[in-house]
């Protein structure tokens, strides 16, 4: 009996089935909204994006990055060669030996995958993912044996029909996973969707070390706003969701998840897939949303997401800290998706929880979230002798005060910063009552109409004056000014440097314009504000400033790009979704575990959140306050001499 035809036929059939699956899957993505993408350039850039950008993120976990290179690289190479050697039957010893080498590489990688799966951490999904290492091993062993005759190691026809039959069965098993599963929704889907997602990413600027963190403006005035149904996402957002490998790295860093709020970014992305592919979440085998049972969520491409697929509380739990996005090896954009869905809830349903409605109403009526009189915005400067732009028309530095102007605690930070600027003789002015809320909170709460109105009015004010730099102590306002105001066709900020106060102060210190005394107040740690670090990449200036005072920062385990959010972003304190623990408390525990006596911050909102933790706890101070305390006043020295 001759069964030589069987293996190539199986390979061929599964390849065809995989092709059909691929087309079907692509049609699911295409149900999304149109979005312009340079497809050709993306596809050409894809290998580089994989090797450089994706690998860069994966490489934070050395174990899995090496494993993945061996397994994934081995598989791709092996699969190509399988087609030549076994499907087309090209008789070449070199190809056969190359195939054997690729399979060995893959086999070694798969062994490590297997080992990781022996006792998997809770962040990894189980279910079908548990059988993946077995499929990988089967694939490599099967094709290894099948290739031996072609390589001349074993005689042609070795083992007879029995071996061929056994090998065919194994081919069917492993290729079903590797090819069929790739396009029909198995774990290997991540390779197919992931590759295309890298090529057709909605934020191509992120590749090559770039940064793209500003939210995209909502189109206003259409028949609906925001994302109501899965098909309201852009098509390449849907594709992005499909790329998820369920590695759970996002889950592991999410502050809302850790606090026991009903949010798990990994599950959220999987629910998005359930939504656009249709079905339920009963096959989901990872951690649930805390305290929410898995299996009851239903979705369909044209069904309202918050009607049965995702509870609104899940969306409102997010602090928009971007830890998940930073950590995701597939470069999936969780925050974009969450805010897109919030836009629908706020702009269409008028359903922002808790204080949300009140805050938005205040912002609309008074341009600040607490409804203070707009005429009292400048009261804090009564004793500060600050120039108003209205009077001077131009200055080197425009100090963007932000809504901290209304808050007594934040005013201490503002005053400290002014003191430093005066000491350095900075030519500075403020907008005074002409300044409005930056729109950060409104935008994160989904009210893009109000954000855009504020942005445009602020830009109109800014365009009246001349300045070289705009500096703010509020990283949220900083992010809006720097990364989001650019979308509204104004040249008010063209050729203007937008700086956070730590960056600016660092320049002053480096230029020798500030005389500072050594700090002797004990151990200090530093909390990276998300909107300064992950959103804007500024990790160094605050640390250099502290170093300039002779402070050696006692780093927290989660610092820099891995900093844990304080819970103050994304309007989370306003929507206030119930949790088991407070995010700020968890962050303070991080601080305490360094043994620090003081935590330095660079954000008034972080200050408020961390100071809200019950005492005894380390002191919380903004870097401006710490510096101002160590300022050697030139004048007073001169006077005493």
């Amino acid at each position: 009996m001759m069964l030589d035809w069987l293996p190539p036929t199986l390979i061929g059939v599964l390849l065809v089935l995989a092709g059909i699956g691929a087309v079907r899957r692509m049609n699911l993505w295409r149900a999304g909204q149109a979005e312009k993408v340079d497809i050709l350039a993306g596809l050409l850039a894809m290998p580089k994006r994989y090797l450089h950008d994706l690998h860069h993120v994966v490489d934070r976990d050395k174990y899995i990055s090496r494993t993945h290179v061996a397994t994934g690289g081995g598989f791709v190479l092996a699969m190509v060669l399988v087609v030549f050697v076994h499907l087309f039957g090209i008789d070449s010893k070199i190809l056969a030996w190359a195939l054997l080498a690729a399979l060995v590489m893959m086999f070694c990688g798969a062994l490590f995958v297997y080992k990781r799966r022996l006792n998997p951490p809770s962040r990894l999904s189980k279910g079908p993912w548990m059988r993946l290492p077995k499929s990988l091993l089967t694939f490599s062993i099967t094709f290894f044996v099948l290739t031996l005759p072609a390589a001349g190691v074993l005689p042609e026809g070795f083992g007879g029909w029995l071996l061929t039959l056994v090998l065919s069965a194994l081919i069917l098993m492993s290729l079903s996973e590797m090819l069929f599963g790739m396009t029909w929704g198995g774990p290997m889907k991540h390779a197919f969707a992931g590759a295309l997602h890298l090529a057709l990413h909605r934020r191509p600027e992120r590749f090559g070390g770039g940064r793209s963190t500003g939210l995209k403006p909502a189109v206003l005035g259409e028949t609906s706003h925001g994302v109501a149904k899965p098909t309201d996402f852009k098509w390449n957002q849907l594709l992005g969701f499909d790329a998820c490998v369920q590695c759970g790295r996002c889950e592991a860093v999410c502050p809302a998840f850790a606090a026991g709020q009903p949010l798990n970014p990994k599950k959220l992305i999987q629910d998005m897939v359930v939504g656009f592919a249709g079905g339920t979440d009963e096959n989901y085998a990872g951690s649930p949303y805390p305290n929410v049972e898995v299996g009851n969520a239903k979705g369909a491409p044209n069904q309202i997401i918050t009607d049965g697929l995702i509870h609104p509380d899940t969306l409102w739990s997010c602090t928009t800290c971007r830890a998940c996005v930073e950590e995701c090896p597939m470069m999936i954009e969780h925050v974009d998706a969450i805010v897109d869905m919030r836009r629908f809830l706020t702009l269409e349903k008028g359903d922002t929880p808790n204080k949300g409605a009140q805050v938005l109403e205040n912002i609309i009526a008074t341009d600040n979230p607490n409804g203070y009189s707009p005429a009292s915005r400048t009261h804090w400067t009564a004793d500060q002798n600050l120039n108003l732009m209205k009077d001077v028309k131009q200055a080197d530095v425009l100090f963007w005060v932000s809504d901290g102007a209304f808050d007594m605690r934040s005013q201490r930070i503002l005053r400290a910063f002014v003191k430093l600027m005066k000491a350095a003789n900075v030519d500075v002015a403020i907008l005074g009552d002409e300044e409005l809320d930056s729109g950060d909170v409104a935008r994160r709460l989904g009210d893009d109409a109000t954000f855009q109105s504020l942005a445009k009015r602020n830009l109109a004010t800014l365009s009246k004056y001349q300045f070289n730099k705009i500096v703010t102590t509020d990283p949220h306002a900083f992010h809006c000014l720097k990364n989001e105001y650019g979308d509204f066709g104004s040249d008010a900020l063209q050729n203007v440097e937008v700086l956070h106060h730590t960056t600016f102060l660092n320049q002053l210190v480096k230029d020798g314009r500030l005389q500072l005394d050594t700090f002797k107040g004990g151990k200090v740690t530093y909390h990276d504000p998300c909107y300064l670090g992950r959103y804007n990449g500024e990790y160094e200036a605050p640390r250099e400033l502290l170093a300039s005072l002779g402070i050696e920062v006692a780093e927290m385990e989660r610092s820099g790009y891995r900093s844990r959010c304080c819970g103050g972003g994304g309007g989370a304190p306003i929507t206030d979704i119930p949790s088991e623990r407070r995010i700020a408390d968890m962050r303070m525990e991080d601080v305490i575990s360094t043994g620090a006596d003081m935590v330095a911050v660079g954000c008034q909102q972080c200050t408020a959140m961390l100071e809200g933790v019950v005492e005894p706890r380390p002191v919380v101070k903004d870097i401006a306050e710490i510096l101002a305390g160590q300022l050697i006043d030139r004048q007073s020295i001169e006077e005493t001499h």
Binding site: T223, H225, L347, D367
Partner: protein, 258 residues
């Protein structure tokens, strides 16, 4: 929600106490909220004034498919337009705020409307419990969280107190898309008002409060106790004539009637 009830909520342009900016008026928002809870989508919301006023979109954003505007200039009197819109329409309930946040803000509009339409007025409503068989059971808001239940015959006018349910959040999208029905009814220039000179009121300095209470319990008592008027008198068993005489005497005494 009650079917087959014709409810109209009247809305005006409010004024934010801090910024002075136009906004959805507190009480008018509550009047719309109450109307929506009574009549749902069949609620008619009416504004007499400028149809271009952006604040109207904030009312519409509460989920109104449409809003009726009786177009008139700012120097016109809203009353005649509203009367001619409301009469002969088989309306059951008209809801207004207690007083407007801008303009004259006299709080007279519901009374004048009631007078001209010949309907009863129920002032400071906290809640309308139910409406059946031509009657409504209404809760009036009294000071210190007290309520009084009254029964009124339809049709009637009610002014909605701050104690009524807060207005729901307004949503941008529906507000933007709501259909405005602009009607041009009789426009009557408010001659009297056009003679007035209007100044910004200065807040009167507050008298310092001397806290006499020594303990928290005393303060609680002071904050919650009913003011004990000395002159009150409860008449239960007297005849109607006697009761009327007592009221009349009081009105004379207080110089309400001369």
């Amino acid at each position: 929600m009650l079917p087959n009830i014709n409810v109209v909520s009247l809305v005006s342009v409010g004024r934010h106490p801090q910024s002075g900016r136009a906004r959805r008026a507190e009480q008018d928002g509550r009047a719309v909220e109450l109307g929506l809870n009574l009549a749902g989508n069949t609620l008619t919301v009416v504004h007499a004034g400028n149809a271009q006023e952006p604040v109207l979109r904030q009312y519409a954003g509460m989920g109104l498919p449409s809003l009726t505007v009786l177009a008139q200039e700012s120097d016109c009197d809203a009353l005649p337009a509203l009367v001619s819109f409301l009469k002969d329409k088989h309306i059951d309930v008209v809801l207004t705020g207690v007083r407007a946040e801008s303009g004259e803000s006299s709080g007279m509009l519901p009374y004048l409307l009631a007078e001209q339409l010949g309907w009863p007025l129920v002032p400071r409503v906290a809640e309308i419990l139910n409406i059946k068989e031509g009657e409504a059971e209404v809760l009036l808001a009294l000071p210190r969280g007290q309520r009084r239940a009254v029964i009124v015959k339809l049709p009637f006018i009610a002014s909605v107190d701050n104690a009524a349910q807060e207005a729901r959040q307004t949503a941008f999208g529906p507000g933007l898309r709501a259909d405005f029905k602009v009607l041009t009814l009789e426009r009557v220039v408010d001659e009297a008002a056009s003679q007035w000179q209007i100044n910004i009121a200065k807040p009167r300095p507050k008298r310092l409060k001397v806290v006499k209470a020594k303990t928290a319990a005393d303060r609680m008592k002071a904050a919650t106790a009913k003011p004990v008027g000395g002159g009150g008198k409860i008449m239960k068993d007297e005849t109607a004539a006697e009761k009327a005489q007592a009221i009349f005497d009081l009105l004379l005494e207080e110089k309400v009637v001369r």
